[in-house]
Symmetry: C2
Subunit: 693 residues, 2 copies
Amino acid sequence: MNNKSYQAHHSSFGAYASFLLGKIGQGGGFSLSDVRSPNKNIYIGYKNRMMNLLPFANLDFGNKLAEFGLEASENKNDEKINLFNEDSIEREMKWASDSWKAGDLSFKIYSPFDKVKDIDTLTKEEKKLLLAPGFIGEITLDNSNNPGEAEIIFGMQLDENARLLSDNDEFSLLGGAVDTRYGFGCEASEEIQENIDWMTLLEMMDKKSPLLNKLGNEVVLRIKVKPYSKKTMHFAFATYQGGNITSGIKSKFAYTELFEDLEEVMEFLLKNKDYYINICDSKDKELEESKLNEYRKFLIAHSTHSYYANTELLLDKDNKYLWVANEGEYRMMNTFDLTVDHLHWEMKYHPWTMKNSLDLFVDRYSYDEGVKDLEGKKYKGGISFTHDMGVANMFSPKAYSSYERSNLSGCFGYMTAEQLVNWVLCGAVYALNAGDNEWVNNNLDLFDKCYESLLARDLNDDGIIDTDSLRCGTGAEITTYDSLDISLGQARNNLYLAVKTWAAYVCMEDLYNKLGKNEKAMEMQQKALNLCDSLVEKFDVNEKYIPAVFESGNESRIIPAIEGLVFPYVIGDKDAVSEDGRYSKLVKVLKAHLDTILVKGICLDPVSGGWKLSSTSNNTWMSKIFLCQYAAEDILNMDFTEEEIIEWDRVHAFWQTVPCNEQCATDQVHSETGKDLGSRLYPRLVTNILFMK
Amino acid sequence: MNNKSYQAHHSSFGAYASFLLGKIGQGGGFSLSDVRSPNKNIYIGYKNRMMNLLPFANLDFGNKLAEFGLEASENKNDEKINLFNEDSIEREMKWASDSWKAGDLSFKIYSPFDKVKDIDTLTKEEKKLLLAPGFIGEITLDNSNNPGEAEIIFGMQLDENARLLSDNDEFSLLGGAVDTRYGFGCEASEEIQENIDWMTLLEMMDKKSPLLNKLGNEVVLRIKVKPYSKKTMHFAFATYQGGNITSGIKSKFAYTELFEDLEEVMEFLLKNKDYYINICDSKDKELEESKLNEYRKFLIAHSTHSYYANTELLLDKDNKYLWVANEGEYRMMNTFDLTVDHLHWEMKYHPWTMKNSLDLFVDRYSYDEGVKDLEGKKYKGGISFTHDMGVANMFSPKAYSSYERSNLSGCFGYMTAEQLVNWVLCGAVYALNAGDNEWVNNNLDLFDKCYESLLARDLNDDGIIDTDSLRCGTGAEITTYDSLDISLGQARNNLYLAVKTWAAYVCMEDLYNKLGKNEKAMEMQQKALNLCDSLVEKFDVNEKYIPAVFESGNESRIIPAIEGLVFPYVIGDKDAVSEDGRYSKLVKVLKAHLDTILVKGICLDPVSGGWKLSSTSNNTWMSKIFLCQYAAEDILNMDFTEEEIIEWDRVHAFWQTVPCNEQCATDQVHSETGKDLGSRLYPRLVTNILFMK
């Protein structure tokens, strides 16, 4: 991991707010109800003989001065500032932290996360610890070898106008904020000087007395460090979005019930800093001590950071909690085909959020609609679920997503079949792994309805969905792989979706067995076996692969054929995914398929060597690569060498840290260059939690 | 008034939100907690044989298509759209409305305002009518002569993501909104089709069925109009900023206690549309029927629109109302040297807002500080008030403004003396004209303190303030005219401020007389007479003017020497400002002064002919020109010809509608060209309410 220049999210649980930092020269800052970097100057460093700063500021003072009608020649301060270059910095992205070392300075941001018990069972204090919208930053200056006094410099460019925290005399805090919404602060102390101005860093260079231009937008703290000493300071980074924040369903941030305002959040964070640091240290250690290679460790850490930046816990008018995982740059809410990928993370850390999403899909975002065959003949359909629940804090109306539209066969088309399968998979995994019997009992009829709906979509009774929802109008259904080519983009008669459909039957088989409903379990097994046979029949024995789409002579080779194997596996049904189990024929064929296609020029990119989901598209998705790597390694037991795996992981980590380094965790990349093609600042890459045993 | 292309604010009382429209080609849209135009496309027009739109949209579809990776050649729709040009439009900016006519279309925005009784005495329903954050738009299509069906087109580009109002089934509204914060809507009807997409106007050109891309940011309504008929539609334009909105003093918008959300506001506005339209019609008529020339009518209307866009009524944690007039592009809150200019407006329409500001200045934004003479020797000082109460919804700390800083002698210096005089003037005018005896009795000690403070600032006992506050440090006090040259910028020994100081003594003289405190009244009269003598002594009998600053041989000629005359006049003390009254010497000298300087090349710009506040600066301020025109015409009875006055007014109106036409009411302009130099989107120009008899 030589690359240190990449933007990363830093955030807390459910606040839909983050602080971005990490790409050299890009700046960063706070993002609220969004995940994009404002790319403002961040000033973190120290002053001894000269000013030394981490390279997260644009110090083109000539331009800055010109904005204010002054001449650049008036000031040569930029010559007195050393911006550390990449070579002189150490960076460590860990699971729950991110830190930089340069010269005598170290700076670390803690992004706490851990297992969270059902929110309804938490005490108020536990809720406050969990939901405080912010986190801790830690800065240390080692002035041990310096006979002179030094200063820690800590500050940032905020919005057009900002304020000093000392202006609020109800609290004993120093730092900067933008009105009621966000800021950074530390405990007040005599040794800290607050500065605010338009070009604070520039103006304060040769000054002793504080800058106090209250119209300014840059707040910079100077903190004295005595000769021959070492000093560590802690800062709270906090946000506060008050009032009703969502339309459609009226709700506010859950933390607004617990904290009055921004300053109260900061004070709480600082008071409990040890709690948060301990949590982070323990998560960092856990990942560090895992047997994973360094690239995988990095990918897991980076993905986790972007996942939490997208999380949002709301409280509706009836004091009911609502969980929203937002969709990166697209800001769609609880996109179901992301939910099914977040499943593995949420089941491990907070299964109640999965339940929360599944329930809202049932209560508000389900619908019942007929289907049509290729000739347009109409048939009875059944229940399914919307693609998402809205966009940008706007819950969409009942039974409708913000994404899906009629009369399309590509992007923005309906994903009716895919989301139906996703509910069954998420529901069964939650039912079997969370031990929530009450939920299972309440939702048995839903599984029945879903089963009926699956049957209705399979006209020729081979198990494979071969219809499109009538909601498509003149168009056709698509899958989550909307921006890939038809090999993964078309839902009807699609290999990827067929294997996931098989997995849905297997998971229901297991669920009914667990419930003692053996007859129903057998029925599901019959459907799964039937589908298994159908898929095996599609196997091209000469070319040794299954074509991506069973229509129009399609010959694409796709890796996500094996995605569906993950679900039976995670509910512990090893037999279902074993070469010797009851579905051995399918497992063997999928293994042979993967073996055939996972070669350079087919599903390994001939230039980069990275995984390429489809032989006919250069658009490849990190979240799905991780999922399929897991299926290949742990389920299919492919005979990859350790070197092969490390090289793949190295390429995938390189993509995130170099070509995608401005966009935090990025899902869609070009398989040749790794350049971002979409799905930037994305939560979905946490599928790689599966790598953690 | 030939110019029709200028941006204007449209808003309601105290919502600190507006809808901007009017500059051709610039677009417009909603501005919240700000007054700047987002310059988004606004689509208002109709479709019969072709699409006809008012020219408030940028229809460069080539560029738009390129953003989405499409080629311009794919679409030639721009050829089917007629954007009316300036010549084919009629525009009428009236006092409480703004309207456009073009082709078969008329569109009108109503911005209601009227006298407002003390907010604490209003019923809930009266409060709702007053504070509903929004207003009515009216569109009429005259299809009487058309044998075919036509469509009214009404829509706009909103934020990155938007929603349809029909998505919320609790209300029967159609239109568009951005999450919970702002939007436009009308009553639902079968004849209206809602469209949402990224390039809605472009995409819907050749379509019959509605566009329903819920990820879109453009909402456009199509409203059927039958052949040979005429149709009028009403829209609500509404905003909603929930939660605590200010820091420093924690407060929320007063309307949030009355309305739950945006839709409730819209529904209320539409239900009460006749009430609002009647108010506006009546105000429009009142201005229309006044004897003022067309330029003055326009200037009053335009200024009123920008004033209300800057108003903000808050409710603090103790349910106390707080009034804030924000400062245009600078966003400072209750800037006192604007308050004293808003005085005339607020005394006429809502004197309780003036009281509210004065009280907060006393309670939180007053301070007591010593003074220094030119040599730096320190003396006892006295009470004064801060320049402002904060910026951008951030109340500044007790006793400090966001603007003032130590050790400066120009912009951002202290305005201690000026704000002291301003409190006395506002306080006395409120006390005498509002008939609020309780307030007068509560504040008698404040007038005493202010009197003592005035005395303390006059070391040589000639009545003229000749000291600087110790808060200045090494700097010196400035006046409101911060960006002009020293002729108006320096507070010490300044003619403009000296006449205002005289006015302060006169107003206190009248106040004490009214209260039967004759001894005190006589004391004030003595101070006023003394100051009167001192100023008369400064009159240069050869050159027939009083120099702007009584230091360093200053020879600037300034119009605002006469500004102070307004205050005794508005409290009805005609004697004080009469050539035959007790201060006749001063009044005569000021008249002679104005007569001398109001010539081309001195205080009339030699190129434009407009009023130029200072002979030595090209920066001239509209708000102050109006005030001084009023003093010259109504108080000094200068023998201007009707033609002269109309020509001056024509120039001043031209400045607003051509060189400043992107910036709504603009205060600081270049006297030669009328180009904006600062103070854009400004509330202060309502000094011209004095023109309305």
